[in-house]
Structures are given as C-alpha cells and as structure tokens.
C-alpha cells in the first residue's frame, strides 16, 4: 500500500516536473522498490554510471521519505494500518488543488520545516543534477505550502 501511494504521488509530481519521463515511469518506479542487482564494478565495464538528469528516481526517494514521515509523525499510523481513507489523506498533502481544509489534516509550521529539511538532505545524498534538483524541490515544497 505504501509503495502504491508513493508511486501515485510521484507520478503526479513527474507529470509536472518532467513529463517526458512518463514513458518509462512505471518501469523506473517498479525498479525503485527492487533490490539493486546492478554490477557496479563489472570487468571491462564503464563503471557505475549515475544519471543525474533523471527526475523519477529522485522524486521516488523523496516521496517515499516524506510519506514515511507523514505516516509516523502527522497521521500517526503504522505501515500495516494503511487503508483507503489514510491513503487519501496522505495524497491530500501533496495535492495542489486542495478541496477543503476541514476533513484534511494540515501541517504545522514545524512539520513543514522538517519536511523541507528532509527534502534538502535527501537531495544532497541523491545523484541528481542541480537544475532537476531545484525543480523537484520547488514542486514538492510548493505543493505543501499551497495546501496550508
């Protein structure tokens, strides 16, 4: 269920950040949850190549981290307690077109700062080029800010 929601949210963000990646989004997002079996140091290979122009792996990693944070610190449910209503609530945080504030949970200033810090830290760890990183950061943070 967590994988499913991470995928759905990421797809929405990719539609906005890098629509040309939608062509192979499903393959890339599925690969995100699989154990990496790539031989990073193959004999007479080129060596491990990090392709920083791709937004999908970075978005998947960020969304995955944020979803885990929201579940434990904001919605306060365990992974196995995920159901459709919590799923909708989580998706609501990322939605730019918020329907209403009443039944949706909102983020406090501290929580928003925590998420921003999480995004910045992750972006430093992940291999993604500066331009794409900025685009992802803006898109993610604006989705929360607009929701407030």
């Amino acid at each position: 269920m967590t994988e499913q929601i991470t995928k759905e949210i990421s797809r929405t963000l990719i539609e906005d950040i890098s629509p040309d990646e939608l062509e192979y989004f499903d393959e890339l997002s599925d690969a995100h949850f699989k154990r990496d079996v790539t031989d990073k140091d193959a004999q007479l290979g080129f060596g491990f190549v990090e392709f920083g122009e791709l937004a999908t792996p970075a978005v998947m990693t960020l969304v995955s981290g944020i979803v885990t944070y929201l579940m434990t610190d904001v919605v306060k449910v365990a992974k196995d307690q995920m159901n459709d209503s919590i799923k909708e609530k989580l998706k609501g945080f990322f939605s730019k077109k918020k329907k209403q504030p009443e039944d949706n949970l909102t983020l406090s200033k501290e929580q928003l700062e925590k998420i921003t810090g999480l995004i910045d830290n992750k972006l430093r760890e992940i291999d993604v080029n500066e331009k794409t990183a900025l685009k992802i950061r803006d898109s993610l943070i604006s989705s929360f800010v607009l929701g407030k």
């Binding site: 192979y24 890339l28 007479l44 290979g45 060596g47 190549v49 990090e50 122009e53």
Partner: protein, 547 residues
C-alpha cells in the same frame, strides 16, 4: 630533440607500448611459477617421498659423464624413470591448470549471458547507432549487442572469447540515456568499444578464468599435499617413538610457513589481475577521448569524483576500476599514465624471481632429463661400434648441445622478464618528454633499482627454495648482502638502459621504443645473471654464515 611537443595528445598515448602487456606477462609468469611450485609437491604426495620443495635438483647427478659410461642400461633406465614420473606429473599439472583456465575462458560469455538474463537488442535504431559508433572506433569485427532488464543500469560492458565479442548494455542506457543524453551515451559506448580496439578482452578474461576453479584447485592441491606430508611426518615420528613436543611444533610451523607462502603468492596473483584490469580502464578512457571531445567525460568525472567517497586500501587493490578521481586526472592530463611505478617494478621482480627460480630448476631438470636419456640411449646403441675416444667425444657433444639449449631456455626467461622490467625506465623518457614537472633521472633510477632489489628479497622469502624457512632467522642474514649485490646490478643495467635509450631518442625524430636484437640479448643476459646471482648468493651467504 628539437621537435619536443608540449603536451601529449590522446592518440599519441597509443604510439607507446601499453603497460597492460607487461602486467599480463607478469600474470602468466606468476601462474606458471606458482603451478610449478605446487606441482612439485604432488609427486611427494603420490610416491611417498619426503615433501621437499623443488626436490628434483638431485637429477643433476645424471649430468655426469662417468656415470653415463659406467651404468648398466637396466640401472640407468630404472633411475631415470624415478625422475621422469615426478617431472611428468609437474609438467602435466601446469598444462592442466592452463588448459582448464582456457576451457573456462571459452565458456565465460555464455555464462555471462545466462547469469544476467541478457537478450539480444532488437531495436533497429539502437543497432544502427551502435554500428555507427563501432565504425567510428575502427572496429571491423562482428559484435553481438545484448541488453539486460535493469532500467536503472546506465552502464555497459564488453566480454567475449576469441573473435566472438559481445556488448552488454544496461536497459537504462539504451532506453533512456540514448534519448536524453546522447553525448554521454556515446562516451560510454566508445569507452567499451575502445576495450575491444585495445585488445583487452582476451587477456583480461583469460587471466580472470584462472582465478576461478583453477585457482581453487591450486590452493586445495597445495593444502592437501602439505597437510598429508605433515600428518605423515608426525605419525612416522610417533610410531618410531622419535618425537618431542618441540620437534612436532617445529614440523607444524614449517608446513604452516609453506602454506602461508603459497597463500601469499595466490593473493599476489589476485592483486596483479585486478591491477591488469584497472590499467585497461585508463587506456579505454584515453582511446575514447581520442575519438571525440572529452568535455562531457571530464566534467562527469570531476562531478562524480567530488561526490564519491575516498576508496579504502581494499577497494584500491581489489576494484576493477580506478577511482573516479584518478580517471579524471589521467583524462585531464594523459601523460600521467607514463609516470614510472615503483610498486609495479617491486611486484615485477618479486614474481620474476619466483618464476625464475621455479622455471630455472624445473626447466634445467627437464632438459637434463631429455638429453641424458636420449643421449644415453644413442651412446648405448653405438657402444659396440665406436672406439672409446669417439664415444667420449659424442658424450661431450651431447652435453654441449644440452648446455646450449639450457642457455637458450634461460635467455627466453630473461627476454620475458626484460621487457616488463625496463618499461618503468622507458616511462621516465616518455614522461619527461611531455610533462611540465619533469622527473629527476638519478633519484628515479635509484628508487626503481631499490624497489627491484626489495622485490627479489621478498621473492626469496616467499619461495621455499632448497628447504628455506623464514623461521630460521639466520637465513635472513644473507638478505643484506644479496640486497646490496642486486641493487648494484639493477642500478648499472637501469642506468645503461636509460642512457642508451636517451641517445636513441636524441638521434631520432620519432622513437618507437623498439630495441635492437643484440641489445635485447645483452640486456636479457644481464637480467638472467642478476637473477641467477641472487639465487646462488642467497645460498652462498647463508652457508657461509652458518659455517
């Protein structure tokens, strides 16, 4: 040289002999040396004789004219048979290990395809792009293009055996990078095709094949034979009531010592293999750089180098690729590939010593065996027809031929070692020709000669020759003497080689680093003399100090 160039172009790198050939030669010498040493233990295991490394040296007793004359045929052939068996077994072990390595090497491509679930690339556009790049690389061979199923894999690899060469591309590389960043895609593919153009596949995959099953067989054989010899020795002493705790500990320590020596040799072999592969990565980067602009690669390596954490010693020794930082530095300034390496020269002389000592005794015994048996047979048949004087002359002629063949064999060993040995000196010339910060010649030659001598000393400690045991500390007293002698020898021949090459460079517009046959012969003989002197002086000084 009036026409000195300021910078070394990427294409010019390939006008000089590649380091890899030297390392590959070194690898083969190491495999041969180790299999000879281990093969030497097998007869003692099979024939219930005392396990003594390279114990076939008493065979030289055959090289005795009086014996040849006076021994009866029955006795002679039965004695000869005692020696033929161990020699044949050792010889077969070396052939078996090389044969098995070759078999594994031929089957490797199919294994890679199966293990990685590779499928043939069917997209005609991708095939066309790859063919265009193949043409750009100057490759005329037919290549098989395969892809794996990992969308996150943006890398590629080449493999193969003989003329069957394969390219394995990551799915991400052909499906995403080809469209999103063609420049980077082209760099990666050109790097791979450069491995083919540089003829890396045969050498590296054959060497890699030895490090699979044959490596294990060698290690298991060594362990089994030594363990058997140890148990046999201990039980023998217990049965005959001729043991003390101290004598048993002593015996165990000797065999443990031998086992450690073999293990160190095999680890060394592994390190040389990885060194071989890493050196090819620089050449592939440089060949690819000679085919297209390097801007993308230099900026990629620079950025990636900043992100990647520093390699630890294990990664440095065991990785298939040099660090990104080193790749960046070599690409930015290709002359760095010609910086002389003391480390390589140290391993070179260490392995050469082991090969030389093993091959010297093994080859000597084998040749003596062949010549003595065939000579004796011939002489015995002619004994009734010739007078004693003619008969004696024939014996001497046979011995002269035997000696010539042995000299040629040693020269062959010398020529194998010579090429790798002097390349570090040649690199001083190449480096100084193009680099801004030139290397000081005299300190460099001293450093190289010192490390070469150190290699000989370490080779001596590793090879259990004539029952040598590092636990007998007195043996080590001979080390300083031999170190000084070999250092003096190496310094003289290195200096001679440097100045000979220097005069050649000054007289020629373009130097191809080839050496005339006579000089090769001369240098080969000098190398043989130094290695032979080291072997003999170790024995001489040890005996002298003991008496």
């Amino acid at each position: 040289m009036d026409n000195k160039k300021k910078t070394l172009t990427y294409g010019e790198v390939f006008e000089y002999p590649p380091e890899t050939d030297n390392i590959f030669r070194l690898f083969l010498l190491a495999v041969t040396g180790i299999t000879i040493i281990i093969g030497n233990y097998i007869p003692s295991f099979l024939f219930e004789t005392e396990s003594s490394p390279l114990s076939i040296i008493p065979l030289t007793e055959f090289y005795d004219v009086d014996k040849v004359f006076s021994t009866s045929p029955d006795e002679f052939y039965s004695n000869a048979l005692l020696f033929i068996k161990p020699i044949a077994i050792q010889f077969c072990f070396v052939i078996f290990i090389f044969g098995l390595s070759y078999f594994i090497y031929r089957r490797k491509p199919a294994k890679i395809i199966r293990q990685n679930n590779l499928t043939l690339i069917s997209d005609t556009e991708v095939i066309e792009t790859l063919n265009t790049l193949k043409k750009k690389s100057g490759i005329t061979l037919n290549l098989n293009y395969y892809v794996n199923g990992n969308i996150k894999d943006f890398s590629a690899q080449v493999f193969g055996a003989g003329n069957k060469i394969y390219l394995k591309a990551g799915r991400g590389l052909v499906k995403i990078m080809l469209k999103k960043n063609y420049d980077m895609f082209e760099n990666i593919i050109l790097h791979e095709f450069s491995h083919i153009k540089n003829k890396d596949i045969g050498k590296t995959y054959f060497a890699g094949s030895f490090l699979k099953t044959p490596f294990l067989i060698t290690l298991i054989t060594a362990s089994a034979v030594m363990f058997y010899a140890l148990i046999k020795s201990i039980t023998g002493r217990i049965i005959s009531n001729d043991y003390t705790v101290l004598s048993l500990i002593g015996k165990i320590s000797i065999y443990l010592n031998l086992f450690l020596q073999v293990a160190v040799l095999l680890i060394l072999l592994y390190v040389i293999f990885r060194m071989l592969i890493r050196s090819r990565e620089y050449y592939a980067d440089l060949r690819a750089a000679s085919l297209k602009s390097t801007d993308t690669m230099i900026s990629y390596f620079k950025k990636a180098g900043e992100r990647v954490t520093v390699q630890n010693l294990f990664d440095k020794l065991s990785g298939f690729h040099p660090s990104i930082k080193l790749r960046y530095e070599t690409l930015a300034d290709p002359v760095k590939i010609f910086r002389p390496s003391e480390k390589l020269l140290f391993i070179n002389t260490l392995v050469s010593y082991i090969f030389f000592a093993g091959a010297f005794i093994y080859g000597l015994s084998l040749l003596l065996m062949i010549f003595t048996v065939t000579g004796y047979s011939m002489l015995f048949l002619l004994k009734g027809f010739l007078n004693e004087y003619v008969h004696l002359m024939l014996v001497y002629i046979e011995l002269i031929f035997g000696t010539i063949f042995m000299a040629l064999f040693l020269l062959f060993c010398g020529s194998l070692i010579r090429k790798s040995f002097f390349f570090q000196i040649d690199k001083i010339h190449i480096f100084n020709k193009y680099a801004e910060n030139k290397i000081s010649v005299l300190p460099a030659i001293i450093r190289l000669s010192l490390t070469a001598s150190l290699g000989i000393v370490c080779g001596y400690m590793l090879l259990p020759l004539y029952g040598f045991n590092v636990l007998h500390f007195k043996n080590l007293l001979s080390v300083p003497f031999v170190f000084v002698i070999t250092f003096a020898g190496f310094f003289v021949i290195n200096y001679f080689h440097y100045f000979w090459m220097d005069s050649k460079i000054n007289n020629e517009y373009k130097v191809d680093y080839s050496v005339p046959v006579l000089l090769k012969l001369f240098e080969g003989i000098l190398i043989v003399i130094i290695f032979l002197s080291a072997i003999l002086f170790f024995q001489f000084f040890t005996t002298l100090l003991f008496t």
